[in-house]
Amino acid sequence: MSRFNNFRSRLADELEIPNNALSNNFDLRMHGNKKVIIENHLGITLYEHNIVTIKTNGLNITIKGSKFKIEEINDYKVIVNGNIKEIIFHKE
């Protein structure tokens, strides 16, 4: 699944079309170190004051910091607010 996903991502790059139109990769955006927006996620696996782990396709994203608050979560995106110190990507 992952390799096929990488192929789709490469194809999107070659065709110069938005990556998320073909691939199944997540989209991560940061506003300073205060807000993280993750699109195309698969759910929250851990939520504490100082750590949030979000599952995505093939990777788990761990956000470390303090005063975390989940501003919004729906089927498509999750918005995490707080003081972000570290973002770690690790395989399942």
């Binding site: 759910g43 929250i44 696996t45 851990l46 939520y47 504490e48 004051h49 975390f68 608050k69 989940i70 501003e71 919004e72 979560i73 729906n74 089927d75």
Partner: protein
């Protein structure tokens, strides 16, 4: 997000508290496509919000995971009103009363005239059964305009409009007509200025001054009262003629040697205000960011909001300016003073005046250039005034005195 929160406040939302199984619950809600927001963790557990629609749709599921759900929002407040019928009725009555009372006109304000005419207008309204408080439609306002305009001849413009609970009557008084002296009316010619008489050309009337006479303002030059040679009675005639006089005008002018001018530096800063009902609240930016500046304001209308209410955004821009000093040379200063002197002279004298002699002296000190000038003119100094015969009453009064 603010709009989203506002909509959910109106449509209603449910606050759910959980003590355990947080991640599992969130993933179940996500799978059911239920939007969750404002998720916060505290010592007791977590708290989050979901919309009231989702709560109703998945009531079984939510009741299974939690029994402590608090409903919030405008819709619930309105639902509670169903049970408080007296209170709801009271609010409804007070809204109706407020609407009725504010739609009435309670006060009349007359703008553009004196106290006497204001009283006349109010009296006229009272005579026509227009008393306050009154409910006036647009047609009534037009009728009042017509009523004032037709009954009081002293106004050339009348506008009546309602502003809140006030009736504003805006009037403009007729200017008094300038009385023109007809050619066959008895009149005299008097001096309009202090002068030395240069020439007297009298077509009709009795000249009472000669060439070289010194005359003062208001002094009679050509009299409109003549003695009839046959009957030796005094008769009043219209005076016609021109009296030229020498007049003197003195001018003292000064001009700075160094002038300060402000030059724009192409730097600017903006400040934004939220304007609500004439009051402005600063939102972004600083006031007076530069020492010297030129300030300009523009109003930004917020789409829909500005149309529905009196809320606009005011943008003020401060353009920085530098003060520079420029030196003015003597010739430029002299020319400028001379031009402004002649400008003033034209205003003071009549159009057919002729300059006979002009003496101009220039001087200067550390700060200013000075100009002292005396201009000698020959101009028409006569001014026609109407004369009236003395009535019998006035003559008797004069005798008694």
């Amino acid at each position: 997000m603010l709009i989203f929160k506002l909509i959910s406040l109106i449509r209603g939302y449910v606050v759910i508290r959980l003590e355990s199984n947080l991640e599992k619950t969130l993933n179940i809600l996500r799978r059911k496509n239920i939007a969750v927001w404002d998720l916060e963790k505290n010592e007791k557990g977590i708290k989050f919000k979901i919309s009231y629609e989702d709560y109703i749709k998945h009531a079984d599921l939510i009741n299974e995971i939690n029994h402590n759900a608090r409903e919030k929002g405008l819709i619930f407040k309105l639902n509670r009103m169903k049970f408080r019928k007296g209170f709801s009725l009271g609010i409804l009555i007070s809204i109706i009363c407020l609407f009725l009372l504010t739609s009435l006109i309670w006060q009349v304000e007359v703008v553009g005239t004196n106290q006497v005419n204001t009283k006349k207008i109010i009296e006229l309204l009272r005579e026509n059964n227009i008393t306050m408080p009154a409910s006036l439609s647009k047609k009534d306002l037009l009728d009042i305009e017509t009523l004032i305009y037709t009954n009081l001849d002293i106004f050339k413009f009348v506008e009546v409009y309602a502003e809140g609970s006030k009736l504003i009557i805006f009037v403009r008084e007729k200017e008094p007509e300038i009385t023109e002296i007809k050619s066959n009316e008895p009149s005299s010619i008097v001096s309009a200025k202090n002068a030395i008489v240069h020439k007297v050309i009298a077509k009709s009337g009795q000249p009472v001054v000669k060439e070289g006479s010194v005359v003062y303002e208001g002094q009679t030059l050509i009299m409109g009262i003549m003695q009839n040679k046959n009957t030796e009675e005094f008769i009043m005639v219209p005076s016609h003629g021109v009296v030229y006089g020498k007049t003197y005008y003195n001018f003292e002018m000064k001009e700075e040697k160094v002038r300060k001018i402000s030059v724009a530096t192409n730097r600017s800063k903006s400040v934004y205000y939220l304007k609500i009902n004439g009051n402005s609240i600063k939102i972004i930016g600083d006031k007076d960011p530069y020492e010297n500046y030129n300030y300009k304001e523009s109003i930004i209308n917020v789409p829909i909001v500005s149309k529905l209410s009196d809320i606009t955004i005011l943008k003020g821009t401060y353009y920085e300016e530098e003060i520079k000093e420029i030196e003015i040379d003597e010739k430029t200063a002299q020319n400028k003073m001379k031009v402004s002197m002649f400008d003033e002279l034209i205003k003071k004298c009549s159009s057919d005046s002729r300059i006979v002699k002009s003496t101009i002296n220039y001087s200067e000190d550390d700060e200013y250039y000075y100009m002292m000038a005396q201009i000698e003119l020959i101009e028409d100094i006569g001014e026609k005034v109407r004369i009236f015969p003395i009535t019998e009453d006035q003559s008797e009064d004069a005798k008694e005195d």
